[in-house]
Symmetry: C2
Subunit: 102 residues, 2 copies
DNA sequence: CGTTCATATGAACAAATATTCATATGCCTA
DNA sequence: TAGGCATATGAATATTTGTTCATATGAACG
């Protein structure tokens, strides 16, 4: 299993709009599932599935407190790379035209 | 169309093993399609499809010379972010277990 | 215990994706 | 202009992915 496969999995894992929003939220500190759900305004089940995807890739870490489960980024560098790619997308005008995916 | 959507498209675009390999190749300077095909050892048609995906996202730029078409990265920062994510994946042990995608 | 709250899971489905195969385009040279 | 390279395109297919719905787990507290 070459290195590129894991790297691709990682990039694909964070390369999804809902998961990106979750990561940007967590960049501001840990949040419990309920907080994330109301911040995103999406279904609890959907958020839970995405959190699992992030956790399976070791992008986030969980901590349980009573009934609540708190999520935080595995490293501040993950927030950095998200910000860096955001800046790249705007500065280089990446993925603006309709041909790109859509 | 929120910013996260474009960012997600970008990350998803580069988050594919074959496209990652192409980008790492192009990090060493421009290459024509034939060079990329033989470097990767994959079908010409497949490489062409992936090159198109990269081009549609403005990640690569083309230059035609006679029958050959040369591709290069739109910015050296694209090579940087690929390297940075590679280093993150190894240092943080991201996407190692089988649950992650597979 | 039974109930309520917080989160996770699993099946089902639609949409997106990577790959292959076959064919088309475009540029050069004899 | 005919033929050969180099690259691109399009249809077809199998796999993966995101989302929803319904239900399950598990912790607290009466």
């Amino acid at each position: 299993m070459p290195t590129e496969d894991k790297e691709a999995r990682f990039l694909q894992c964070i390369g999804e709009p809902t998961r990106l929003r979750i990561m940007k939220l967590l960049a501001g500190g840990e949040r419990c599932v309920g907080d994330i759900v109301s911040a995103l305004g999406r279904e609890q089940s959907l958020v839970s599935h995405h959190l699992r995807a992030l956790k399976d890739c070791n992008v986030v870490i969980t901590r349980q407190e009573a009934q609540k489960v708190y999520y935080h980024l595995a490293s501040p560098e993950l927030a950095e790379i998200v910000l860096k790619s955001e800046s790249l997308v705007t500065r280089l005008s990446l993925c603006q035209n309709g041909r790109c995916g859509e």
